[in-house]
């Protein structure tokens, strides 16, 4: 939470409607995302109760578990979910492009990737657990399940894992995506209620956001967005319906449970598409495509791993795998923060406030300025920027700029509100700077000490060479019968 975001919350509270805290969209939004709203049984770790899922706002598919304690019914829920989810996901695996890379073999990457939208973080956690409880199952052997079930488990595990990566858009939680772009007049804790959050951002005609959010807290008007259900609903509606099914498992009894779940899921289904619409209306940030490319690459590698018949993801990472994962997440986090600031002046403003960036107008420029003589002559154009921003950088600091890619400048001197910069990168190879590579007097520019250069993560040994300090080489992970048979009580 930055001061700017805090200020936006204050204003939202006063105006009664959410305020923007981003000027562009920082997540990828697929042209045809799949919305999935799961519900789970209270008191259980991962007992599915039902879900709505689909890619067409007008045709949600409702999945129901009429007796959530019944293990077989849970597996048929998983198989049904697989029936909807797997064709969607696998539909992206076919069309690929060849990507050349410097100093490496070219590789294949899918042209597009699937995107799953769920209401909130607990839904992501639930999908991860559902993945964990299904990915070790087997289609043959002692407790056979439909062959799609373990495959679904591996995909759900993959999506849930990937969603921890900052900047990834393969699996998005709507509340998180919306909160990145709007500040409401309530607390972050209350923003976890999707209906309230959407109410603040897009209140119904003639109603304030604050009032809409208040209405959203009534579970009778706006059932919770899951995966946890409203206890009142559980006790008064669901429990009798489940009991009726238990006494006489007829089609009628199933329909009664389905009807009960429909009342809880439909409002959230509509909210999810509204949330997608709100996000879609924002212009996409300049570096969102780059991150989506990384998502596509990751998706492609997972498709390949499945095609090679690799084992399902292990229960726990080994030492090397865990270190690599952590380093990857840290880099993704740092990269995401920098990219957001470069893409969005409103995010950059947060760094301007803390003195890590400044914006101003160019008052003088000497594009022909050079250092050294003869062969060691280096073009070093000088630019003077006048700024009203509070904190100013120390001489010698190297700065980047969101205005020009590959551009870098070094602070030469700070005199009052004027900063003289020496451009050190991004002018081309000629004796004079490439056209447009040096800011001209009168131009509005932004510079920041925030750059995308992170120290690369330390080289990690191959898992076979894990040192004894870290438990030595891990045993190769082979899921056994025990896991395939694991109870799901």
């Amino acid at each position: 939470m930055s001061v700017l975001a805090a200020l936006a919350r204050l204003r939202a509270a006063r105006e009664g409607v959410a305020q923007p805290i981003a000027t562009v969209r920082h997540c990828h939004l697929a042209s045809r995302p799949m919305v999935l709203v799961p519900l789970k049984l209270a008191g259980e770790a991962a007992a599915p109760l039902g879900a709505v899922v689909g890619t067409d706002p007008d045709h949600p598919r409702l999945l129901v578990v009429p007796q959530p304690r019944d293990r077989d019914l849970r597996f048929s829920f998983a198989a049904e979910l697989a029936e909807v989810l797997l064709p969607y996901v696998e539909g992206f695996a076919g069309a690929t492009e060849t990507v050349e890379r410097r100093g490496g073999e070219p590789y294949e990457r899918c042209l597009d990737a699937p995107q799953i939208l769920v209401p909130n973080r607990p839904a992501v956690t639930f999908l991860g657990l559902l993945g964990r409880s299904t990915r070790f199952r087997r289609a043959d052997g002692p407790c056979p399940v439909h062959p799609s079930v373990p495959l679904l488990g591996r995909w759900l595990t993959y999506f849930a894992d990937r969603s921890h990566r900052p900047g990834s858009s393969l699996l998005l939680a709507a509340t998180e995506a919306l909160s990145t772009h709007w500040a409401t007049g309530q607390s972050a804790l209350e923003d976890a209620n999707l209906a309230a959050l959407v109410g603040w951002i897009d209140p119904p005609e003639g109603m304030s956001g604050a009032r809409a959010a208040e209405e959203a807290e009534d579970p009778l008007l706006w059932p919770p967005a899951g995966p946890a259900t409203d206890p009142g609903f559980d006790n008064e509606v669901l429990a009798p319906a489940v009991r009726a099914y238990e006494e006489a498992p007829s089609g009628h009894a199933v329909e009664r449970v389905a009807q009960a779940l429909r009342t809880q899921l439909e409002p959230t289904w509509r909210l999810m598409w509204r949330a997608a619409g709100l996000l879609r209306a924002l212009p996409e940030g300049g570096r969102v495509g780059e991150r989506w490319e990384a998502d596509r690459g990751s998706f492609t590698r997972f498709v390949e791993r499945l095609a090679e018949n690799g084992p399902p993801q292990a229960r726990r990472d080994g030492a090397v795998g865990a270190a690599a994962r952590l380093a990857g997440l840290e880099r993704a986090q740092a990269g995401y923060e920098v990219q957001r600031a470069y893409d969005d002046p409103l995010i950059m403003a947060e760094y301007r406030l803390t003195g890590e960036a400044f914006a101003g107008t160019v008052t003088a420029a000497d594009p022909g300025h050079a250092e050294g003589e003869g062969r060691s002559r280096k073009l070093r154009p000088l630019v003077t920027v006048k700024t009203a921003d509070p904190v100013q950088p120390a001489p010698g600091t190297v700065l980047g700029s969101p205005d020009r890619r590959g551009h870098a400048a070094e602070v030469v001197e700070v005199a009052g509100d004027e900063i003289t910069l020496k451009i050190v990168k991004g002018m081309g190879r000629g004796r004079t700077p490439a056209p447009g590579s040096v800011p001209e007097p009168g131009e509005r520019v932004t510079y920041t000490s925030l750059t995308g250069d992170f120290p690369s993560s330390p080289a990690l040994p191959d898992p076979e060479l894990t040192p004894w300090t870290h438990g030595g080489p891990p045993e190769e992970y082979v899921p056994g019968d025990e896991e395939a048979r694991e109870e799901w009580a």
């Binding site: 000027t23 770790a45 007049g185 804790l189 726990r316």
Partner: protein, 366 residues
């Protein structure tokens, strides 16, 4: 009449359970909550009477599952539990005693628990016993609260361990961190109560181990798994908090004479006190609302609407309030940002920051 009794009115004080005591630590700065709790006011009833009940429901599915799991763990005189604890502490105990304290009847449970614990502490090593349904007590601001540890206190190798049975799952060695934290806070309450009892009996309080045992279902099964839980930190927080509770006299000194939160129940126990009058009485004691209250305090909805009425920055969360340099009013903070309000002494710095932030925001959204 005791001032706390006067605040509560002519009903018996509501006893605290471990969960409530653990929650005391959640918002130590709230005078309203401190007083209501010290007086043993039934906050849930109060909030209901005001028409703003807290949204704390429990699903019968969760309750059923919790009870079934607890029964399973305690089956056959806790035989399964013994196996788990033997593995956890690496002890070679073959035999174990089982004492169901509940068998003596509710009114005697506390004294019976005392006697049993006293005997066990005296006899020392070698007698491993489970105590099912023990009843401990803890003094909270002058009132005795009776506590029922998630039923089992256990003595093994000369030490007592509190065993908490919870029905949330531990999956591949991991559980939901908020649930584990809540369990640790509750266990700390029991450890403290047990240590108090040992001290009373003249034993070494350290006989009650700070390592509580958490028993949860493993993965997606009903099979219990035990994990040891170090609650030293939670104990320290709790002690500090309870010490503060005794400062309730200081809070009482600021309460206007004649103030009461009495619901004035009629013969059938239906409150007759006008809700508006009650609300007014409550507003005489300052609250310290924070969004966290929404998950911990029965009075949360009342305090939130009060905070809304006075436009407090508390509504937006502690993080926001910290960012605003602790400025308490939303209008005040916005006024400083927009330059229409002259900052008070000591606020110049935050006012400058807010003004700059406002300028940057306007510039970017133009």
């Amino acid at each position: 009449m005791n001032r706390l009794d006067a605040l509560r009115g002519p009903v018996s004080a509501r006893p605290h359970d471990a969960r409530a005591i653990a929650a005391l630590a959640a918002n130590p700065g709230c005078a309203r909550r401190a007083l209501l709790d010290a007086a043993g006011v039934d906050k849930d009833r109060t909030a209901r009477h005001l028409g703003v009940p807290a949204p704390f429901g429990r699903s019968q599915f969760a309750i059923t599952r919790g009870n079934a799991f607890e029964a399973l763990v305690k089956e056959n005189g806790c035989a399964g539990l013994l196996r788990l604890l033997r593995e956890l502490f690496g002890l070679a105990v073959e035999e174990v005693g089982y004492q169901d304290v509940e068998s003596v009847g509710a009114h005697l449970r506390h004294s019976h628990t005392r006697a049993l614990i006293d005997r066990a502490a005296r006899e020392g090593e070698g007698t491993a016993v489970f105590y099912d349904h023990p009843l401990l007590s803890l003094e909270i601001a002058g009132h005795t609260s009776y506590l029922e540890p998630d039923v089992v206190a256990f003595q093994l190798g000369g030490r007592f361990h509190i065993v908490e049975i919870k029905s949330f799952a531990v999956i591949d060695g991991q559980a939901a961190p908020d649930k584990v934290a809540a369990a640790a806070r509750q266990a700390a309450v029991y450890v403290l109560a047990l240590r108090t009892l040992l001290t009373d009996l003249g034993h070494d309080p350290r006989l009650a181990s700070h390592e509580a045992v958490l028993v949860c279902p493993e993965n997606f099964t009903n099979r219990p798994v035990a994990t040891s839980l170090d609650v030293r930190r939670q104990l320290a927080v709790l002690r500090r908090q309870l010490a503060r509770m005794t400062e309730v006299d200081r809070l009482l000194a600021e309460v206007p004479d004649g103030l009461t939160f009495d619901l004035a129940p009629d013969g059938d126990g239906v409150p007759t006190r006008p809700a508006r009058e009650l609300a007014e009485a409550l507003s005489r004691v300052p609250a310290r609302y924070a969004p966290d209250c929404l998950s911990t305090c029965d009075m949360c909805m009342f305090c939130r609407s009060e905070a809304r009425e006075c436009g407090s920055t508390d509504l937006l969360g502690r993080q926001v309030r910290d960012r605003l340099g602790g400025v308490s009013g939303m209008a005040e903070a916005l006024g400083m940002a927009e330059g229409v309000l002259t900052p008070a002494e000591g606020q110049e710095e935050i006012a400058l920051l807010l003004r700059t932030a406002e300028r940057l925001r306007q510039e970017c959204l133009r």
